[in-house]
């Protein structure tokens, strides 16, 4: 009776407190003003969430800690059953779970011992990793140490409780305590009386319950909040690999804030992302900005935005939205926001599906459109796009000059075509990339593909403008392009630029442009597979391939460019250490192509070094920006004489000539 009263009081306080904190967190979530994304496809979500949560698929991508985490996760699920029974029986001794039958109950008891050991192993590995191995991106955290201490003590207290339960009460199911009964025989050697042993059982039971209740109070303020947030976050994740940026509706006159000036301008899903982060650092380990000493760490930006949210919590909950402090603060600085190449390695690596780029893009939108605050070298880029539809300082009337004498029809000449060749600004104006386009034209002609270009009617897709944060400029370019494409009833598009590819394919939908868009790697892979292209010439003995972020991580095209290279006779395709979804960005994405890089090492040089490590004399690229960055890298490393950077179209051209 005394125990019951004590438990009601203690548990009431503990659950009351943590419940209050969780309610605040939930209110905070609801106060977010940013437009909430749509969540359809419920059945699909259930399946994928089951695999990702119960199956721990995403966590297991890092096998060692993945297994440890899976052990802890599953262990806690099962042990919670025992804890529930413990709570129930403390309230009323009759509320034992024995009603499930003797065999089932024995199994439950057995499982408690088994999973306690299971969890303990997991925790021991996690502690070893955090305290001894110390991977760089994990960092040091008192919160993490506290969590290990809490969870470790919980397991130890269960074993002690079970052992003295065996000694003090001699329960009928004692043999099911297949580990604790051995511990009990050890403690039996202490020679305590049955009463003392029973007392110790009560003591350790209370210790265990206190730890559980204490932990419940600790969780709302800890990164361990992920045990509640990460599940829903996983179920609500962006389901497709391909992802367009959120489209702003400028026609909506109630919309007066573009992008995020304050934390509350983000959406509640963004806040759930912040709650879900458990600071594992997988994002940071792959971030090209962080790995070249930029101030941006995808892990830190999430933690820092969470700090911003919490620091403003009282103001937000009191409805004093005006007084909420800026999203850009002492931790999340302008340099942090501009360092991102939007390569998306962080999002792809995140085991709880946090979408870092959404937040960075929203912050940029506010800086550019509301405050006109961005790296000064970007201004002429915007102006060039506005007046001439290209980031480069060239006239729109010169866009098709590269194609002079090649006999390519323009859509205005009304040709019958299978596919429209979207040239892109780099292919139109950049000397190096004009050659790539010419090679691709050779390949198309050789495969007898009927194609045309838009000529001077083509404009920049606006990719860089959008990713830098100038949504207004992007939309004006997108609308014009969609109008042009729809006027010619274009259905199939092929392009050698992954940025154009991504924008045309995933983002023009919102402006009435739905096309079947193929990257030239996909197109050439198909031409080879169907026998329309027959690569016969040797090009190089060894080739390494650099993944473009907007082809790979943003659109899941990893194998097609590789199959194009492998189709070339007698070539060995050697992979860099970081390849495919772990591939390192060249440094040009997210509009970084148009910004100076003044902090840390240069991303393109570091990536070039990784390519040079393979010893391949050819670095293959499938993106005009990667081409520029890697070519510069090869120049910086003084390897121009021994290493060439070639587009896969140039390789195919050489091999089929």
């Amino acid at each position: 009776m005394l125990q019951t009263v004590a438990f009601v009081i203690v548990a009431g306080i503990a659950f009351g407190y943590s419940g209050f904190r969780f309610a605040k967190l939930f209110q905070l979530l609801k106060s977010m003003k940013g437009r909430t994304p749509k969540f359809g496809r419920v059945a699909e979500r259930i399946v994928t969430a089951t695999v990702d949560i119960l199956g721990q698929r995403a966590v297991l991508r890092d096998p060692w800690i993945g297994v440890a985490h899976t052990m802890i996760f599953w262990g806690f699920l099962i042990i919670t059953l025992g804890t529930l029974e413990q709570f129930a029986m403390t309230l009323n001794e009759g509320w034992t779970f024995e009603f499930i039958g003797q065999t089932a109950y024995s199994a439950l008891i057995w499982s408690q011992d088994f999973f306690t050991a299971f969890v303990l192993y997991g925790i021991l590995y996690a502690a070893y990793r955090r305290l001894v191995k110390r991977p760089k991106n994990l960092g040091q955290s008192q919160d993490a140490n506290n969590i290990l201490m809490f969870t470790g003590s919980l397991m130890v207290s269960i074993f002690l409780m079970n052992s003295f339960h065996v000694l003090g009460s001699d329960p009928w199911f004692k043999d099911s305590y297949f580990i604790s009964k051995h511990l009990a025989s050890v403690f039996g050697g202490l020679g305590f009386s049955t009463e003392t042993n029973h007392g110790l059982y009560i003591f350790f039971k209370w210790l265990h319950m206190s730890l559980v209740l204490g932990f419940a109070m600790y969780i709302p303020g800890s990164k361990h909040l992920h045990i509640l947030a990460a599940g829903p976050n996983t179920a609500l994740k962006h389901l497709d690999v391909a992802k367009g940026m959120r489209t702003l509706n400028f026609a909506d006159e109630t919309l007066t804030q573009y992008g995020a000036a304050k934390i509350t301008d983000l959406s509640w899903k963004d806040a759930l992302d912040l709650y879900s982060c458990t600071e594992c650092g997988r994002c940071e380990a792959l971030c090209p900005a962080w790995n070249t000493e930029k101030p941006l760490s995808p892990k830190s930006i999430i933690i820092d935005m969470k700090k911003n949210l919490y620091a403003n919590k009282d103001l937000i909950l009191a409805g004093k939205a005006d007084e909420v402090t800026s999203l850009i603060d002492a931790r999340v600085t302008d340099d942090v926001i501009w360092a991102c190449t939007s390569c998306r390695a962080c999002e792809v690596a995140c085991p709880v599906f946090i979408e870092h780029t959404d937040k960075i893009f929203d912050a940029r939108r506010n800086l550019v459109m509301m405050e006109s605050r961005f790296p000064v070298e970007v201004q002429p880029v915007f102006k060039n796009m506005e007046t001439n539809g290209t980031p480069w300082a060239f006239s729109a009337s010169e866009r098709a000059n590269w194609a002079e004498g090649l006999g390519i029809p323009t859509m205005a000449e009304n040709p019958t075509i299978e596919v429209l060749l979207w040239v892109g600004c780099a292919g139109s104006y950049d000397e190096r990339n004009k050659n790539v386009l010419k090679s691709f034209v050779n390949v198309l002609k050789r495969a007898e593909v009927k194609f045309a270009i838009l000529g001077t009617e083509e404009q920049c897709t606006g990719d860089a403008a959008r990713r830098i944060g100038n949504e207004y400029l992007f939309q004006s370019l997108a609308q014009t392009n969609v109008e042009t494409l729809n006027r010619y009833a274009v259905k199939d598009i092929v392009t050698a630029c992954p940025h154009c590819f991504n924008t045309l394919k995933n983002e023009y939908k919102d402006f009435g442009g739905t096309y079947n868009v193929m990257h030239h790697s996909e197109f050439m892979a198909k031409l080879v597979a169907t026998g329309k292209l027959k690569p016969t010439q040797e090009v190089a003995k060894k080739i390494t391939f650099h993944d473009s972020c907007y082809l790979g991580r943003w659109n899941n095209v990893y194998e097609e460019p590789r199959s194009v290279i492998s189709a070339i006779p007698n070539v060995e395709l050697v992979e860099m250490k970081q390849n495919r979804k772990d591939g390192m960005c060249c440094g040009a994405g997210g509009g970084r192509m148009w910004m100076e890089e003044t902090i840390g090492r240069r991303v393109n040089v570091v990536r070039t070094e990784q390519a040079l490590e393979t010893g391949a004399p050819v670095i293959a690229s499938s993106c005009p920006f990667c081409m520029t960055m890697l070519s510069d890298g090869v120049k910086t490393k003084d390897k121009v004489d021994s290493v060439r950077v070639l587009d896969i179209a140039e390789l195919m051209d050489a091999s089929t000539s």
Binding site: M369, M370, E371, F374, F382, T387, N388, Y472
Partner: protein, 257 residues
Amino acid sequence: MNLYVCIKRVPDTEMKVKLKADNSGVDLAGVKTILSPYDEFAVEEALRVKEKNAGSTVTAITAGPAEAIEVLRTALAMGCDNAIHIELADGSDSNMAAKAIAECLKKEAPADLIYFGKEAIDDGAAMVPQMVAARMGIPSVTIVTGIEYSGATIKCKREIEGGSSETVEVTLPTVIAASKGLNEPRYATLPNIMKAKKKEVKAIKASDLGVAASDQKVKLSNFQMPPPKAAGKKIEGDAAAQAKALVQLLHTEAKVV
């Protein structure tokens, strides 16, 4: 303070120049137009002065055909408060533009500072700022790359021949012709772009300002494209021979030594 910025709509710097069939001028059909880049420095400077002096207004003025309103919208988006469009026919000369602007300014609230770009990048005449100042009987400082403001007198740093600069002290009101280096013009924020679309532009006919056809002093005719650039010559041989050949060429072909 009453601040005025006089601006001009010009063809984009990247345009491919083509002449009209009768060589009477440059063919501007289908050419993108922009706010003349030096005028951007002028707008930016006026806005910065306004931001430091509470209660100031910046009025943008342009003289030109109907399409010239575009640059007023650009100036408004950058942050100007008012805009005046003086309707003046295409092909009018600097004298007409200067007269129109000066007469317009005389009717507006007395100016403290009137900013111009040092020249428009289309005709590159670089005359209107000084002509306006003369008509208004106030000083003008041209090719200004830096200004120190202190009450009724300001110090202007201006570029002079030979890559050096001089500092001129001048009493307000004055005309300033801005050059590159004066500031970094801002990029308009979206709320300001939206607001600029709705702002009223005051329209005045040049004829109402007393501008007549007889004010046109200069008529341009018979435009010609520059001759195509000839291929370069490479001088071979050792250093002494190269020097000798170079001097020879400078003497006989270039006729500069």
